[in-house]
């Protein structure tokens, strides 16, 4: 199982994925950190049967809400706007599906983010959510 965590540590709640990676590493698990750029993400899951992908998401829920989706069932993927030229994790999933390059199993954890100001750190709600997501992934990894 390959664990991919996306985010930017210097843009507030966008650090969510990286905080999960930090915690997973403390728990002795390998987690790959990514900026979320479309080709980088597609390259990172190449050859993997099973992938867990963690990123900050905006759905309108309150900060720190944890969403878990099956990436292969995610029909209308939320599009990225804050990534390079607007091509990010959302587009990677859509392109992966269109091109037949999605891993056989892909579980996505989205941590609701509400603030992305440059130079700020994640909110306490997002930090708590990252802890909870890391623990859940650790359990999944043990049972895998």
């Amino acid at each position: 199982m390959r664990i991919l965590c996306c985010g930017n540590r210097h843009r507030g709640d966008d650090a969510a994925g990286l905080l999960v990676a930090d915690r997973l590493r403390e728990l002795g698990l390998a987690a790959q950190t990514l900026s979320g750029e479309v080709t980088e993400v597609m390259e990172a899951w190449r050859g993997a049967e099973s992938v867990i992908l963690v990123d900050a998401v905006v759905t309108g829920a309150r900060a720190g809400t944890v969403h878990a989706w099956d990436g292969r069932d995610l029909k209308a993927c939320v599009r990225s706007s804050a990534s390079t030229h607007g091509l990010g994790v959302g587009e990677a999933i859509e392109l992966g599906r269109t091109l037949g390059q999605l891993p056989a199993k892909i579980r996505i954890y989205g941590i609701e983010a509400t603030q992305f100001a440059p130079g700020t750190t994640a909110s306490p709600e997002v930090e708590q959510a990252a802890e909870a997501v890391a623990r859940e992934i650790a359990c999944l990894a043990k049972s895998a």
């Binding site: 980088e40 706007s81 091509l87």
Partner: protein, 432 residues
């Protein structure tokens, strides 16, 4: 049918560009009354927070300005600092810097040609929609971009915000065998780039040829990356040290990004068209022949054909990277030491989307006293507005939705990096 005449074309968030911006075009009857490229992304104040930092920090700080052209920022910063400090670099280091730049051009041009600009020509909302009908083309784009990523990763330690470039050289240089590992990918990328030239040349281009002043670097022996005189098709021929005598940045009310102008003549165009028109004779033979094979020769004045020129530059970058790898002998030392002393230096290098100017002054401890950065998109902003002012006239009787689409496409001709210039794009067309 709703036409553009007497209306406003409004795009509140321009897509497929880097950063945040909006486009507003107002018609009075069939005349274009107003054009504003509104850059609302907040200013990022990099020049201010470089002050007081050591010169050695400038390459890594300025590379953070952009996720798509960090190498351009590193190269302009490094060359300006080396000029301020009077440092001469090993010829092998110079070659490696050109290879590093080839990586960035391949990444950036592959992304723009296939994934950002091609959907405009083919009538798709984005590359995801395009991929459903053009699967193999998008797969090729991803592989081509990856070939560039590999160069950047090897040279810079990682793909995004690479780290190894330094004032005086590199922190670490690759071995010959590490570079040879790139050859197979690059040979494939060269063939894919030749196909890209033929493929883009078959797209349909609007009939639009403004009378541009093209501005690019020109080097006596090479297609330009890091060095050369700044020249134009209207007689400009200056050293980087003279840049501020000839160019001025102007603040306009509707934009957080400064607009650069030639003091004597106003707007000008930088980027692939300018480089191609002013340096056609310096292109590698494969690239020049690929252009001629599709009937492309200077002067190319149609900005929509920039997609073909980018493909030609992909051929060039792959050819040049392969040449450098063949000729590479590692330098005696990765870098020369750079001692602290006072000085001032300016440098211009060719980012994928055009010239990038840096100017620094240093105190006796090597700390930055002043910093000035003029990114390519700031240099093109006034010209983009001028293009739209001319181009929108012909769209007055077009259905509003189609006119808006065409105007967005015209902006994307420039592959603008608004994050750099303020450092994204919405379009509004208004008609009475």
């Amino acid at each position: 049918m709703t036409t553009s005449a007497g209306k406003t074309i409004k795009v509140d968030t321009l897509a497929r560009v880097e950063g945040e911006g909006a486009l507003y075009i107002k018609y009075a009857g069939q005349q274009v009354a107003d054009v504003k490229l509104k850059i609302y992304e907040p200013p990022r104040l990099f020049e201010a927070f470089l002050r007081g930092r050591h010169f050695s920090e400038a390459p890594d700080i300025t590379s953070r300005i952009c996720g798509i052209c960090p190498i351009a920022y590193q190269m302009s910063a490094i060359h300006a600092m080396e000029k301020a400090l009077g440092i001469r670099i090993d010829p092998a280091v110079r070659l490696l810097r050109r290879l590093f730049y080839c990586g960035e051009w391949i990444e950036s041009h592959a992304l723009h040609v296939y994934m950002l600009h091609a959907p405009d020509f083919l009538g798709y909302q984005d590359v995801v929609a395009m991929a459903k009908d053009h699967r193999s083309t998008v797969e090729k784009a991803l592989r081509l971009k990856k070939a560039g990523n590999r160069i950047v990763q090897l040279m810079g330690g990682r793909e995004i915000h690479p780290l190894s470039a330094a004032v005086g050289g590199f922190h670490k240089v690759p071995t010959k065998s590490q570079l040879r590992e790139l050859v197979e990918d690059l040979e494939w990328a060269l063939q894919a780039s030749l196909e890209a030239v033929a493929w883009t040349a078959k797209l349909e281009f609007p009939n639009f040829e403004p009378d541009y002043e093209f501005v690019a670097l020109r080097h006596p022996e090479e297609y330009p990356f890091n060095e050369g005189h700044l020249v134009s098709n209207r007689g400009l021929d200056i050293d980087a040290a003279e840049y501020e005598e000839h160019f001025v940045e102007v603040h306009v009310k509707h934009s957080n990004a400064l607009q650069s102008m030639l003091r004597a003549r106003g707007s000008y165009l930088v980027g692939p068209l300018a480089r191609f028109n002013l340096n056609f004779d310096k292109l590698a033979e494969e690239a020049r022949q690929a252009a001629l094979d599709v009937g492309l020769k200077p002067p190319v004045r149609n900005p929509f054909k920039s997609i073909v020129v980018r493909a030609v530059e992909l051929v060039f970058a792959c050819t040049e990277a392969l040449r450098i790898i063949r000729e590479y002998e590692p330098p005696a030392a990765p870098r020369v030491e750079a001692p602290n002393h006072a000085g001032s230096g300016q440098a211009i290098t060719e980012a994928p989307r055009g010239i990038l100017y840096h100017h620094y002054s240093l105190d006796e401890n090597g700390l930055i006293v002043t910093a000035k950065i003029v990114p390519p998109t700031s240099q093109n902003l006034k010209r983009i507005e001028d293009d739209l002012r001319e181009y929108a006239v012909g769209l007055a009787t077009w259905p509003l939705e189609e006119a808006t689409w065409k105007c967005e496409q015209a902006v994307r001709n420039y592959d603008p990096c608004i994050s750099c210039a303020t450092h994204f794009l919405k379009v509004v067309i208004e008609r009475d």
